[in-house]
């Protein structure tokens, strides 16, 4: 088929109608699956990331070496499976949790499973940025390991965590587009099944443009928030 013919006035008119009728719901689906998956991934990944830092042999609360190795291997394993394959692999798990493996709600399960190891690594790197001297100071005040995590390490790394969580959200949003391939809703599904499979390239491009805009907005907001929360940058 002729590529240029996808952008005739009629096709553009059709894409415009699609934008008005289909896009609002698709955007909503994309956003809520992204945000819910990010939320669940943080719930699992944040404590895991904390353990990766505090549990190592020189950490503030060392855990048994084999357990740390197991956690690291598990995270690397999940991180190395391509998302689109992971999604199919864990269909049984998705069925157990949601009752079905098809649809936007069902897509949150594989999204979470794919994202929490990623989040754990991001949290790990944020916490490693905390000046070890400050942690030593907290120990010298008689802080327990739990207090060091909750009162020193996490509060001190808030700007870095915001930056990394922004990165996570935009990455997870990229995954939601892929989940369109196996029945997850959203802009990805719209672009694939409506735009690509039905040769409505104008719709495909429009969906991509909207995704780009949303990503930009989230990224800019995250960057702004991180800078605003960082008290090291305050003017004298």
């Amino acid at each position: 088929m002729n590529f240029a013919s996808a952008f005739t006035p009629e096709k553009l008119q059709e894409a415009w109608e699609c934008l008005l009728n289909e896009f609002p719901f698709a955007i909503w689906e994309t956003l809520y699956s992204t945000l819910l998956a990010t939320f669940f991934a943080i719930v699992i990944g944040l404590p895991l990331g904390v353990l990766l830092v505090t549990g190592e042999s020189k950490g503030i609360r060392p855990l048994p070496g084999p357990l740390m190795s197991f956690l690291n291997v598990l995270i690397n394993l999940l991180r190395s499976v391509p998302f689109i394959i992971l999604m199919v692999m864990i269909i049984p798990l998705t069925r157990v949790i949601v009752g079905t493996s098809v649809g936007t709600v069902a897509s949150i399960v594989p999204l979470t499973v794919a994202a929490f190891p990623f989040i754990a690594r991001l949290v790990e790197s944020s916490l490693r940025e905390v000046n070890p001297n400050i942690i030593e100071a907290a120990q010298s005040m008689g802080a327990s390991p739990w207090q060091i995590v909750t009162r020193v390490m996490l509060p001190e790394s808030v700007p870095s965590l915001i930056t990394n969580f922004t990165l996570a959200i935009t990455t997870i949003m990229g995954y939601t587009a892929m989940s369109g391939a196996v029945g997850g809703g959203g802009l990805g599904k719209l672009a694939l099944s409506y735009g690509y499979q039905r040769y409505r390239f104008a719709v495909l491009y429009l969906a991509v443009i909207v995704l780009v805009i949303i990503t930009q907005v989230i990224q800019s907001f995250g960057t702004w928030l991180a800078a605003r929360s960082d008290k090291r940058l305050k003017e004298k």
Binding site: N133, Q139, M141, L233
Partner: protein
């Protein structure tokens, strides 16, 4: 009272074991401002961290009022650390918290109610003379101000002992002076024992009453500051008191007979000129670090005595007859150089 008994710390590194501390015995009395001084790598940071059990000694004991801190469990150690607090070279304030929140932190860790902690923190801001910085962030303060906040934070739990780990090393001389003044004031007014870790003799000189000199993990000299200063017995002490002199000796590499002349409050007089005239010995001054207090001289002078061993003996007898002057032959330097 803090007592260190036969304290040793062994670090196992990839290059094999390292003796960070070797059989340290020290007694720090209540009310002391006790200086522990040494070159970098002498083990002073490890030593101070053994006192609050941030480092567990490999051998020996740390006693606080007779209690062996090594036998305490984690919870008890956490409680002890409210009584032995610490300030650092790099201040180590929480950068994302206001000054007030930083000072409140140790109180919150000790589960003190927020209102009470806040009142105490405000009081401490007054103590360290920064009452209007409650809501400022550390990044907005100068180094000296940050150290003041760190001191306030260290005082929050009303400790009995304050450990200062190179607390003024990152500060300029004027700020150093004002921080030392503050530490002295705290020592006097709150009756807090202070242990000062430093590589700067001037710090010890300014505030300490007792001092221990640490070299390669061992205490080589210990005593009243005035005594150690006027009559240093070890090389480590000398090179710390007169660092410029040690350098002078390095530069002067021709072999020869060296004399160290120590002034313990001698009357200022043209000593070297008199020696030249009366004994005919033209000594060269390799290095000197002396201070005059009134018309009295304190300090050191390192002389190179040319000529035969008889000339050296003559110089020694001339100099030792001068009141309040002691003379030592610098054996190791002439010996070292004679070998070459």
């Amino acid at each position: 009272m803090i007592e260190l008994r036969n304290l040793s710390k062994l670090f196992t590194t990839t290059d094999g074991p390292v003796d960070a501390l070797r059989h340290i015995n020290l007694t720090i009395n209540n009310g002391d401002i006790y200086g522990i001084i040494g070159m970098s790598g002498a083990g002073k940071s490890t030593l101070v961290r053994c006192i609050n059990m941030l480092e567990r000694p490999t051998e020996g004991t740390v006693l606080m009022d007779g209690v062996d801190l090594g036998t305490l469990n984690k919870k008890e150690i956490q409680k002890i650390r409210r009584r032995i607090t610490m300030i650092f070279q790099s201040f180590n304030l929480l950068m994302q918290r206001t000054c007030l929140e930083n000072i409140m932190l140790p109180l919150k860790l000790a589960h003190v109610p927020a209102a009470q902690a806040r009142a105490r923190a405000m009081e401490l801001l007054e103590t360290v003379d920064l009452p209007n910085k409650a809501n400022a962030y550390p990044a907005q303060l100068s180094g000296g101000q940050q150290q003041r906040i760190a001191i306030a934070r260290a005082l929050a739990t009303e400790p009995e002992v304050l450990l200062c780990d190179e607390a003024t090393s990152a500060l300029d001389p004027k700020t150093t002076h004002s921080i030392l003044e503050l530490i002295r004031e705290i020592n006097r007014k709150m009756n807090i024992t202070v242990i000062v870790i430093t590589h700067q003799m001037s710090v010890v000189q300014e505030i300490c009453n007792r001092v221990a000199i640490l070299e390669n993990g061992a205490v080589v000299e210990e005593g009243e500051v005035s005594e150690v200063f006027s009559n240093p017995r070890s090389n480590a002490t000398r090179s710390l008191i007169y660092p410029e002199m040690a350098e002078g000796m390095m530069l002067f590499d021709k072999g020869g007979q060296r004399l160290r002349v120590i002034f313990n409050g001698a009357v200022t007089e043209p000593l070297i000129a008199r020696m030249a005239m009366e004994c005919g010995i033209a000594a060269s001054i390799i290095g000197a670090s002396t201070r005059s207090v009134g018309d009295r001289a304190y300090g050191y002078m390192l002389l190179d005595i040319p000529g035969s061993p008889e000339d050296l003996a003559k110089a020694i007898s001339f100099l030792s007859n001068v009141p309040d002057v002691t003379v030592q032959v610098e054996a190791e330097y002439s010996g070292e150089e004679a070998e070459k």
